[in-house]
Structures are given as C-alpha cells and as structure tokens.
C-alpha cells in the first residue's frame, strides 16, 4: 500500500508537465519544484510551484488513503456525507416525533371526547399502516391533491409522525405508571391541574419514558433508510449509487451496516447517560 501511494505520487508528478504550460521539465527540475513547493517562490516559477504544491497535496492524500484506508474503508469518504444526511433526518424526525408523542399521549387523557378520539385516530392510522406506504403516500400521492413536499421534508414529517404514534403509547404508559397517590396528594395540596402535570406527574413519568424512547430512536434511525426509496441521498442511497458504480456490493453494504450499528450504539449510550442524569435526586417513593 505504501509503495502504491508512492507510485501514484510519482505518476502525478510526471503529469505535471502539461499543467505548467506545455513545457516539460527533467526529473531534477521536478525535484526542485517539489522542494520549493513549501518554500519561497520566484515570480517566474509561480505556476509550476503552485501546480507542484497541488500535486503534492493530492499525492499525500492518496498516500494517506493507501496507508490508513485499505479496501473496505476507502469507501468511507464517499459514504460519510450520506451519514450527515441520515443524522439530520434522524434529528429532525426525532423533534417531530417528540412533540407528536406528547401531544397525542396527553391527548389520550383529555377530558374532551373529541381530543381523545382525534389522538386515538392519529395513533391507529400511523401504527396501523406501514411507514414506507405512508412515505410513498405523502411523496407520490399528496402532490395529486396539490401538496408537494421535497424528499427531506416528507421524510422528516412521515418518520416523525410514525414514530410519534408509537411514542404516544410510551407517554401514555409512563403517565399511567405514576402512582395514583401522587395525583391525590397534589389535589390535597390544592395544586391546579396544570401544576400537577408539570411538577408532579411528568418529572416522575419522564424517567419511565427514557428507555423506550431510546429504542424508538433506534427504530427511527433504521427507518431513515426507507427515505432512500423516495430519492433522498442519505447513507443507503449513497450505497446504492456506489454499488451501481463499483460492483463491490458486499463491502459497500457491509460498511453501511457497520455505520448504522455505530450510530445506534451512540444512541444507546447517549440515552443511558441521559437516564442517569435525570435520575439524580429522584426518589422512587420506596418502590425503586
């Protein structure tokens, strides 16, 4: 690999000649430019030296890839920009999901029958159908009704609402798991309904929500791969493009699987830290 890099570098240096105005230089001059590339410049040599510097940089980059990125990892630079889109999509959808989960989850306890049934209908529709079908419906179906969203917006909206529907069940379950006496005590203390929710119920319920929310976040990350099918150029989409260009399917999808795995490990550890942070100062009422 090291020699590979050097050979590549030498070839690049030889390609220098046409770039420097058609004049060809001998090897000695090449070395001279090579050495001058980092030092001061004579005005007449300026073009040759900048060209050499550029070539030198490319050569060093090649050398770096050759040494540090043996075959499967040479795919990484091409895939990492896809990772960025995947992360953006995950974060955007997570915000939508979080808001939707709380609105629908709290809506299920509402005193208004209309709000309760609206929340239920939302949850049933998004949990009862497939995320991919929802995505296609919004991206290909809605434009016929005059609403067009780009792939990123459609992905964030649909994945967010889909995961939010599952999240609302988490919120509902966590609120239900707060012992009844807590609410009764709040009533006895003459706290308003809103105070009871914000200061008594939610701070205790949130702790129950963290582990299932962590799992949902991983499901969301996995769901972002679906958005590649409505042409958003995220990680999986890049993989498909590389596959058609390079015919190294095994390596490409292997590396992509590893990248997704690393991302979800990060989510797992992040959620664990968050849980420990939030648990500080919490008293479990002797239940633990």
């Amino acid at each position: 690999m090291f020699t590979g890099g050097l050979i590549h570098f030498h070839l690049l240096v030889l390609r220098l000649a046409p770039r420097t105005g058609g004049r060809s230089f001998g090897l000695q001059t090449e070395v001279f430019f090579f050495l001058r590339a980092f030092g001061s410049t004579h005005p007449g040599l300026e073009p040759a030296v900048t060209a050499t510097r550029r070539v030198l940089c490319t050569g060093l980059k090649q050398l770096f890839y050759g040494v540090f990125m043996p075959p499967p990892f040479d795919l990484l630079p091409a895939l990492l920009s896809g990772v960025v889109v995947t992360v953006q999509l995950t974060l955007g959808a997570a915000v939508v999901a979080f808001v939707a989960a709380f609105i629908a989850g709290l809506g299920r306890f509402s005193r208004s029958r209309l709000q309760r049934s609206l929340a239920k209908i939302y949850v049933d529709i998004f949990r009862g159908t497939s995320a991919l079908v929802q995505l296609f419906w919004v991206y290909f179906g809605l434009p016929l009704l005059g609403i067009s969203l780009d792939a990123m917006a459609a992905g964030i909206l649909v994945l967010g609402l889909n995961v939010g529907a599952y999240g609302s069940e988490v919120v509902r379950g966590a609120i239900k798991s707060v012992p009844r006496e807590q609410v009764e005590a709040a009533v006895a203390l003459n706290l308003s309904e809103r105070q009871t929710l914000w200061y008594i119920v939610l701070p205790q319920a949130v702790l129950f929500m963290i582990p299932p929310f962590g799992n949902l976040l991983i499901e969301l990350l996995k769901g972002t791969a679906l958005v590649s099918l409505i042409t958003l150029s995220e990680l999986t989409f890049r993989g498909q493009m590389l596959r058609t260009a390079m015919f190294r399917s095994g390596e490409i999808f292997g590396v992509i699987l590893l990248l997704y795995f690393l991302l979800s490990l990060m989510i797992t550890f992040g959620m664990r830290r968050l849980e420990r942070r939030l648990a500080i100062g919490q008293d479990y009422g002797g239940v633990e």
Partner: protein
C-alpha cells in the same frame, strides 16, 4: 385533481391478489423468525461464554441496523456465493432474520420467567439438557409468549413493503406499477394504506384475544 373512485374499483382485484403475496411473505418470514429466534435464545443461554457473547452481539447488530440495508445485502451479496434465490425467498429470509432478533428476546424473557423450581425438578428427575427444554421448559414458557409473538407477526406484516425495493410483487410494488402506468399514485397508495389499516386493526384485536387466553392474570 380529485380522488378517482372508478380507478379504485379498477385496480382493486390486482391489489387484493398482491395482498395475498404480502400475507404469504409475512407468514413465511414469521416462520423463519420463530425458528431462528429460538436458536439465538438457546445460544445465548449456552454455557460457553464465547458462544453466548457472540449470540448477544449478533442479535444486537441485527436489531439495530435497517431491514432495507439487510435486504440489499442479502439480495446483492448472496449471488456471489452461488446462492441465487428469487427476490421473494431473499425477502422472506431477510424478514425472518431481522425479526429473529426480536423473537429471541421474547423467548429469552419467556424462559427466564419460568420458576427456578422447574429447572431443579428437571435436574432431580435426571433429565438431560435437551429433554429439559423439550418436555419441561418450552411447553410451559411458550404459551405466555404467544401474544408478544403475535405482535411481531403484525410488525413483519407492516414491514413487507420494504421488499418492493427488490421487486417482490407485494402490495406496495403493485401500487407503484399501477402508478407508473396510469400516472395516478394517490388512489393505489390510498387503497394499499387502507388494506394495511384494516388488516392491522383486525390483527390487533386478535392479539388482544390471545392475551386474554394465554397470559395468566395475577
């Protein structure tokens, strides 16, 4: 443009027969998931530390990577090992493999929930490892798992549209083809959504019934 009801009637037969492919893929996928999940769960309980550890991390890996990428991996990579399966078979294997990571967890909690006395009694009767699992542990552990496993069957059913990416002619793929033909995606996709919704709501009801039947209430 508005919703075209005549088109709905026209495409309904094609979509209903695609629905059968979807159901078929889900059931076969579930069968694979049930078998493979049990294998994972037993490997995880193996006395050999290395085996148990590898099984744990394999499950973790399968569970935290996207089904779609796993489908691509199997679809494009298996042929280079001389295994050229049809898209449907590849899809079923991928679904089964993915959900085996989930069913493995169900099996594990089911087996862990069995009272310790059962194991001790089996040991007292001098049963071997295989006989203990076959005649004592699994017959008692499996019935309470049935509702949870039923939920995963519904989950698999909802994930089958992913197989459209490798041209399996299930519901979504059929809807896509109709859309490409008629330039109307709204109607076929809406019908597909409604079919899924009906099937999921019905099966959710069924799972509730299973729960009442199989899960002991304290």
């Amino acid at each position: 443009m508005s919703f075209d009801w005549n088109l709905v009637l026209e495409i309904l037969p094609a979509l209903l027969s695609a629905f059968l492919v979807t159901v078929q893929a889900s059931l076969l996928g579930m069968a694979v998931a049930l078998l493979l999940g049990l294998v994972w769960a037993l490997l995880r309980r193996s006395g050999n530390r290395l085996v148990a550890w590898s099984a744990t991390w394999t499950i973790e890996f399968i569970r935290s990577t996207p089904l779609l990428v796993q489908v691509y991996f199997l679809f494009y990579v298996l042929p280079s090992f001389g295994l050229s399966w049809s898209p449907l078979v590849t899809g079923v294997i991928a679904l089964g493999l993915h959900y085996s990571a989930y069913t493995a967890e169900v099996y594990r909690t089911g087996i862990d929930n069995l009272p310790k006395g059962q194991w001790e009694a089996a040991m007292a009767l001098n049963l071997g490892r295989f006989d203990t699992y076959r005649s004592v542990v699994l017959p008692q552990a499996i019935p309470p798992m049935i509702p949870a496993l039923g939920n995963y069957l519904v989950a698999i059913f909802k994930e089958t549209p992913v197989l459209a990416a490798i041209t399996v002619n299930e519901l979504l793929q059929t809807a896509k083809l109709i859309g490409a033909d008629s330039f109307r995606y709204l109607e076929p996709l809406t019908v597909v959504g409604i079919l899924f919704l009906i099937a999921s709501l019905l099966s959710a009801r069924l799972v509730e019934k299973l729960e009442a039947r199989f899960v002991p209430t304290e």
